[in-house]
Symmetry: C2
Subunit: 147 residues, 2 copies
DNA sequence: TCCTTGTTGCAACGCAATCGCAACTTGTAG
DNA sequence: CTACAAGTTGCGATTGCGTTGCAACAAGGA
């Protein structure tokens, strides 16, 4: 399952990158793999450190440049979980948004039917064309709220 | 009307600041006034430049320090209209969110009944306590979409 | 294998925001 | 009205995320 998704994600990325006349490099492969298998939403530095475990010469500049490419290709989404810096995740088909617990820091994902409703509402009632929605929540997660 | 609101806003700010054991200074008064009467959402530098027209010695550090205080007191809201830096507005009672046109840069405000619904939904169905909602939209405004 | 051209690593840089500290104000107590 | 303790300011230096110029390098088509 993971193996299968992995194949698919790497393929998707490779195709998109090659289709844009860019090259499929060792570094990009490494970074893609780290992003995909990360079990939390990494920031650039976390990604950098994990990638360096496999390729110690890989530079932080390359991390940022690669993230830029992947963002533009729609392969990763940039999250605003903290004020200080960005986090990233492999983009998926189902829209969702993030909830950060102010007490324990846990990140919960919620599906975004509400956001879709909002988008259509604005489009219909105000004539605007919504291109991107950025919804970030913070508060107490269920566990911390109960304690 | 503007005069009356002005009085109220300044009063509110002064009280809040004094209540926290802080001092009501010339600089804070200037900045509050600029924020209140700004007709667009200023960034720190814009605020700095406008404030300097009245008090040329006022420093950028003071702008940031004051914004920090006002944020903590809930007197101004920090907006994420651009990736590069923050914008600020005097906080108001009615919740609303911002829509930035990617073509002309115009900022439109929409009221946020949807957001309130979402908040309650999450609270009820997932047991989380929502403390802050940050909803930012981008796309084509009605004018640009029609063109 | 060669060659063109995109990519990388490195170090320097850009820029929003923050901080340390001495000089200065505020506001209250006397 | 005055003195004084404590909060605030301006300034310059600094932090930290992210970007960029450039020479060396590597991908991949011919």
């Amino acid at each position: 399952m993971t193996q299968q998704d992995s194949q698919t994600f790497q393929d998707r990325a490779r195709s998109a990158i090659r289709a844009a006349g860019m090259r499929w490099t060792k570094q990009r492969e490494t970074l893609l793999d780290v992003i995909e298998h990360a079990r939390e939403h990494l920031d650039a530095d976390g990604l950098y450190r994990l990638a360096r475990e496999r390729d110690p010469r890989l530079s932080l500049a390359t991390v940022y440049r690669t993230l830029g490419v992947l963002k533009r290709q729609g392969l990763v989404d940039e999250l605003h979980l903290s004020e200080e810096h960005h986090h990233y995740e492999a983009s998926s088909d189902d829209q969702h948004f993030h909830f950060v617990c102010t007490s324990c820091g846990a990140v919960t994902e919620f599906s975004a039917s509400t956001v879709d409703r909002l988008r259509k509402e604005l489009q219909r009632e105000h004539g605007v064309v919504v291109q991107s929605v950025d919804l970030d929540l913070a508060g107490l997660c269920a566990k911390c709220a109960a304690a």
